[in-house]
Amino acid sequence: MDNEKLGTAIVITSGKGGVGKTTTSANIGTGLAILGKSVVILDADIGLRNLDVVMGLENRIVYDIVDVVEGNCRLKQGLIRDKRFEKLYLLPAAQTRDKSAVKPEQMKELVDELKEDFDYIIIDSPAGIEQGFQYSIAGADIAVIVTTPEISAVRDADRVIGILEAKGLNNPKLIINRIRPEMVKRGDMMNRDDIEDILAIGLLGIVPDDEEIVISTNKGEPAVIERKSHAGNAYMNIAKRIIGEEVELLDIESSEEGKFSKILKMLFGK
């Protein structure tokens, strides 16, 4: 086929659990679909699947990633089309199996096949650095590290960046999730610069802590769709940066005050 797309595979990973990998995967994937890209989000957390619930697609699952890898069904049968966006698909994880069901080579083969039909393949990696993490990164071109502004999450992120680089996945990008501007201002929370100092990788975006995420997760509707929340806007900006648009960090995203107030300060010394 001369019309083959050659998509980009992006793995969302963190090392630490509970920092928002699945939420990030769902929102980035949906965001890219809103921007008109064809996207498949792949849940690699076999045995503890969540992405289908967050996307509100749980009741549509017939086959899963293990069925596809083991050849119980064709790849097309395993893909679930999103109920809102036509170009968005989900390949759910198996719930009744464990991480030994998929091998890195099989994952790479699968991702390579998906790249022929999709612009972006978003791989939602499980927590940890064991088997599940190993096969999740096998087919990826780009790694996105999610961390929260806590020393433990940053430490794990640092470890993961090291492993990724050893595996040849260079230049991972960073998302700082659940930042609370007022706490940063008080000096009670690590700010953007503290985290960037330690991790020394490119920043893809900052997502504020937002109640709206809890609501949207429970509704099975990624926050990026309605975009009435700060977090939803932040995720949309991240999706735009992924497709190459230049988007400034939102006020809420920057660590201290907005750029404008900084300039005022410089001018008037206030």
């Binding site: 503890l48 009741n59 699952i61 017939v62 109920k83 719930q95 009744t96």
Partner: protein
């Protein structure tokens, strides 16, 4: 032409095969199709023997050997014991067999407690859960499924295409429901919760869910 028929009968000592008719070729064919459908059903059960009044002893032996070597039956060679068992299940006056074909109805598995996400129960018969089935848990039965609690996971009844089975629960709120070859899911959006037991079955090629009315 006379109809040849074979049926597996279950007694508490094990199972046996009852054959009516004498066309050995047709009997073997029928056995083959029957075993294709339900070979795993008999795994691990004790096979008592073949009851066939119209066949020769060589033919009976042949069928026993096929069951033993081809389908891995656990054969118990004890002719007298078998005869006694057969006798005890016959109607004294008419001589008619009182047992039904167990490979049709299937046996029933009882599960006590909550089934949680990731747990899968597959059974070649009916399943009764005395407890809840949480989202992410899967029940697969060749026969019917009854849940004495809330069914929020996935339920497949009639695994081999049987459309005459039902799925019933005290709270029938499955993520997905399959009966025979038909798959349905809950509608998107909020569904008002119905607090009484409901039964799902197939009506005119569609899965319908109706309230369970005890007086009906």
């Amino acid at each position: 032409m006379k109809k040849e028929s074979i049926t597996f009968k279950g007694v508490k000592e094990g199972v046996y095969l009852e054959i009516v008719g004498s066309d050995i070729k047709q009997i073997k064919n029928e056995l083959k199709t029957k075993m294709m459908k339900s070979s795993s059903f008999f795994q691990g059960t004790t096979f008592l023997g073949v009851k066939a009044d119209e066949l020769t002893s060589e033919e009976i032996l042949e069928i026993s050997l096929v069951l033993k070597y081809k389908y891995d039956f656990n054969l118990r060679i004890d002719g007298d014991f078998f005869k006694e068992i057969i006798k005890s299940y016959q109607d004294e006056e008419t001589g008619e067999n009182l047992l039904s074909d167990i490979s049709k109805e299937g046996m029933t598995k009882f599960l006590h407690g909550t089934l949680r996400s990731g747990q899968i129960i597959e059974y070649n018969g009916n399943i009764v859960v005395v407890g809840d089935v949480n989202p992410g848990a899967i029940l697969k039965a060749r026969g019917n499924i009854i849940v004495l609690g809330s069914l929020k996971g996935v339920a497949y009844a009639g695994l081999d295409g049987n459309m005459d089975v039902i799925v019933a629960a005290y709270q029938l709120l499955p993520t997905q429901l399959r009966i025979g070859e038909i798959i349905v899911r809950a509608p998107d959006g909020d569904v008002s919760e119905y607090r009484l037991p409901e039964v799902a079955k197939i009506c005119n090629g569609e899965i319908v869910i109706e309230p369970y009315l005890p007086n009906k």
